[in-house]
Symmetry: C2
């Protein structure tokens, strides 16, 4: 590196897309192949979804660092986890080696890479490589445009209170509800109250082997996996 | 093809990302390389931005079809342009050959591919391949996360009236104003009225050689190119 940080390595936050390994960008692939260390979020036990996406592209002998994040983060000091990860990656960057952090979807769109970025970007060169978001992958799967022309588009986390969900639904032409999970019934009620159930499409595990996509009206499940979303287009009709 | 459409070719709407040829996905590259015909939007005269992005990857001898779209679309019958394009691509698909339509950013996020999709997807197999949006590329360039946790995120086309822009600004944690162009002064006034100028970042021609990114407060221009956006994060502070 020949920047203001001297001979330090670069921290890359690299979006690996929503699930299909073919939705990796050429830039993500190049950086992964030249990285000294590849880091990724992972659950307490078991495999990392971000790593699984790119497993077939991982170079032989690359050093790996799993950032283990408990599922029930409210019970654990989440800040300490990122403190530890930053401390572990610091000597690698100081030695001049590059670190690639794999991020599901896009690194800066509801992603956890921001926590590492906040801890390391002051001391080391840092670059974010955008990825295909599950938002855009959802529109491709539903075969329905997310937004067009001068319509507005809102991204709404499903954990928000009912009143707030209703307010946002009232105000926007197009919405995607994220992180539906155990909030499925609440979101369904909000949409039904507005008489818009027939405009909503439910999707889970987009761009993976276990992908599901069906009209919300046909969904009988009462809860959903964390990686689920509902796309709603109020004024949907065939564009002319 | 062995689907319900018999031996017809497939229409692919392929996102080519915001500008950097390295932000192409592996899937986009594969489909481009095996397509019989590559189609793309283009101005009346001059080169197509979507084609320029992938020019180095275009296979030798591929047939090309430019969908010429006048800049001043209000003066022209835009529907007739897509009718003509669909009519031109129909015999290719009928003959069993695949058509790849190149789309800047993502095909279904404020993209024009929806017009071809509406005309051809009933008669031919059609697949949308999501791409990296300028939205996510903007967050990477500004080095500021677009949204996190249970924050809301709104995409707001700048041509909307002042009152509507103010209302949306009031209601959301994070916003991106798209298509800023000649609406720059209006958007700037709306943001200033809310006292949020210091939270806004202006970007144009993201992920190209001509990229600019600066705090809105430092921007002295009074108009902007069409491919410009303003990212605003109300509660922006370093994540901990």
């Amino acid at each position: 590196m020949t920047d203001q940080h001297g001979t330090h390595g670069t921290l890359y936050g690299v979006g690996v897309g929503p699930g299909d390994p073919e939705l990796l960008t050429l830039k993500a692939l190049r950086l992964m192949r030249s990285a000294a260390v590849i880091a990724y979020p992972a659950p307490d036990t078991g495999s990392s979804f971000a790593r699984d996406i790119v497993a077939s592209h991982l170079p032989e002998g690359v050093r790996e660092y799993a950032i283990r994040i408990p599922m029930q983060t409210d019970r654990f000091p989440i800040q300490a986890i990122y403190d530890d990860a930053a401390a572990a990656l610091t000597p690698v960057l100081e030695s001049g080696e590059d670190v690639v952090v794999l991020c599901e979807g896009d690194p800066f769109f509801y992603g956890s890479f921001m926590y590492l970025h906040a801890r390391l970007a002051t001391d080391f060169p840092c670059q974010v490589v955008p990825g295909v978001s599950s938002l855009m992958a959802g529109g491709a799967v539903s075969a329905r445009p997310l937004a067009s022309l001068s319509e507005t588009f809102a991204v709404v986390p499903a954990p928000l209170p009912t009143e707030r969900l209703s307010e946002l639904l009232d105000q926007h032409d197009n919405l995607v509800f994220l992180k539906v999970g155990r909030h499925l019934d609440k979101v369904r009620r909000v949409i039904a109250s507005a008489g818009l159930t027939d405009r909503a499409i439910y999707m889970e595990r987009i761009a993976t082997d276990r992908q599901r996509c069906l009209p919300l009206a046909e969904l009988t499940d009462t809860s959903a996996p964390y990686f689920s979303l509902i796309q709603l287009n109020k004024r949907w009709s065939k564009p002319v």
